[in-house]
Symmetry: C2
Subunit: 383 residues, 2 copies
């Protein structure tokens, strides 16, 4: 939803300005992810909370309470998240999949991944079909390599899964009109008709298990809050189609390494994003050059401490690379106190990132054997 | 294209008012089907012309001359026409398929039929998906039963063929924006996003053989002139995608039996259309009650003659039921002279319609064995 009087704009197709996340949640009409809800998640997961939840990166939600009520009454949910394959994955993209993986490992729930190679072709004039299809497979390997269970993970790769998605997309599309997508996405006369249609396909996975099994199966969608508009439409049409509204968990986006706005591959700020595809020396260069909350001199930093809240390195510790609260709190504390200098902090993070990349590369080779087999190509019913 | 200052409106989704066909052709920017072009078709077909061509029902075209040039130089074309399955076929729907069949029988060219069960669901709020899918198969049986060659006839049944159509539809859709479809179809804010997207899918069959065979294969689309807007868009995007522009042959629509406007199933004028599904006694009733160009009394008609141009019965002789020019001219002459009275003319037509329906029902049973096998479900290439 563009917010013309605000200093920022957030839609699935544009993120601009300095985002006030609380204000954005209010603008979108979403609810707070309260301490009470976090406590329920903590309990559900057997007494732990994923760092992305514990540290407030997921901060907003829709209908999470009723999803948890359902779960408590023996009606498990499934997970759905997706990726628009316009290039390699960067750290901000992992936020949703890391949380999905945590839910899958803790609760054994099924995961549905959507790879929107059609949408990205429609959204980015500079990309060829070959590119979005190729990135789609590369991205899928990267996602699965995080540790998803081959037996419980299903992929809708739009161009390969269209026969499976389309019967339900036809029904969804009749319930959404041009003025809906214009209002929600800010589309205009020059928007191509593929993009206008697209949200119908993005709604389908939310309903898939309910459709396939002829019963109401709750859905949880962890996503960047910029994707909320898609799912507002999905939620609006759900009940008219006889399906439950998907619940949402909204995350903030990871700040870019250059210290301006969110980590992004759009535009020309190549060094702003840390990509999974980056070679080791590129990781080093990007992180060494990354914007921090440090002071002008070592002396000043020792005296005043640094400012983690504005630091792109701290953001990476926060979202992914400090697995325990103890370590994360220690990093934050020593940063703020001036004990931890930026150079040392970066060197430590670089090492941690390298370990992750090495392990990820190993896992990635393994998933290539079975990634294709997760792709759904057949609808559960003809209409 | 809506023509606000005209007394009629013709789009694929609305036909209203008394159509001035010459003016409509000019508004659409199409060319006349000239005597010279008809002579070339006559020659091509080995010295005959289909009645729909000879009698001016097909009256407008785009790029027919270059299609015939190609044919003369050893580059045969293929045929493409379609049907939006909102109910049973009526006589106006046969105009395109009768001409396609004639081309296929004379020249042995391939025929591609598109059954748009998704589009009709989007265009008609009163229809269920089950209905458009069911009508799709019923309509396909009726079309194939006209005499199409199973070996040379292929069907795109949208909901069943989507995996085959979608890879190319993705490319088409990026080239058409909302303002294009708004201008061409008169779409507005309340148009659903399925219908906005639809024209991308309707373009695909025009390009299919060229796409599949990696060479330029000319396409001829016989269609009601109300469908021209779809194919204007198709023609606009063709060259940018590396395909030849399809040539078009435009027909007028058959007048309704009630004597007002074109034969139509929309609205509540059930007896306006003669359906292939009508039982024998219904055919009798509809034709006996049909509006004619006759006079108030027999005496007056004998004296003044009748007016074939406004007669719905004469329109049926003209478009389908008088196979030879000799018979058609005799009917027209004796109608005009007062020799042929409406009751006798109707009785003769009713008999002719019954024979056709009986033969058609026999053929229809036979095509059920192979209709499904004409449906294309696999794309020729993945992207």
């Amino acid at each position: 939803m563009p917010a013309p009087e605000e200093e920022f704009v957030v839609t699935p197709y544009e993120v601009k300005g300095k985002i006030d996340y609380t204000r954005l949640r209010e603008l979108f009409g979403a609810q707070e992810l309260t301490p009470e809800l976090l406590a329920r998640l903590h309990h559900l997961a057997g007494g732990e909370l994923h760092p992305l939840l514990a540290r407030g990166i997921y901060y907003s939600q829709r209908d999470l309470a009723s999803l948890l009520d359902d779960y408590a009454h023996g009606r498990p949910f499934f997970l759905y998240s997706g990726r628009g394959p316009s290039g390699p994955l960067h750290m901000s993209h992992l936020i949703q999949f890391d949380l999905c993986l945590w839910f899958q490992k803790r609760l054994g729930v099924p995961m549905y991944i959507q790879i929107t190679d059609d949408e990205k072709y429609w959204a980015r004039a500079g990309l060829t079909r070959e590119e979005t299809a190729q990135w789609g497979m590369e991205n899928l390997y990267d996602i699965l390599a995080l540790g998803f269970d081959p037996k419980r993970t299903h992929t809708f790769f739009d161009s390969k899964s269209i026969a499976a998605l389309y019967p339900l997309a036809i029904r969804v599309a009749r319930k959404i009109n041009y003025s809906n997508v214009k209002a929600v996405f800010g589309f205009g006369p020059s928007t191509n008709i593929g993009l206008v249609f697209y949200t119908a396909l993005q709604s389908v996975p939310s309903f898939w298990p309910s459709w396939a099994e002829n019963r109401s199966v709750p859905c949880l969608i962890p996503c960047g809050i910029d994707q909320d508009p898609h799912f507002r439409l999905t939620r609006d049409v759900a009940e008219g189609l006889g399906f439950p509204k998907p619940a949402l968990l909204h995350s903030q986006m990871v700040p870019g390494l250059l210290g301006e706005g969110v980590m992004s591959t759009s535009g020309s700020r190549a060094d702003d994003a840390l990509f999974l595809s980056d070679e080791s020396w590129v990781v080093d260069r990007k992180l060494r050059n990354a914007f921090t909350g440090g002071r002008a001199t070592v002396e000043e930093q020792r005296r005043l401490g640094a400012v983690p809240e504005i630091c792109s390195i701290w953001a990476l510790w926060r979202t992914r690379f400090a697995p325990t609260e103890a370590e994360f709190n220690e990093i934050t504390r020593t940063c703020r106190s001036g004990e931890l200098l930026c150079g040392d902090c970066k060197a430590r993070l670089i090492e941690r990132v390298h370990s992750f990349y090495e392990e990820h590369a190993r896992q990635r080779e393994k998933v290539k054997d079975w990634a294709e087999s997760t792709i759904v190509t057949v609808p559960p019913k003809p209409l």
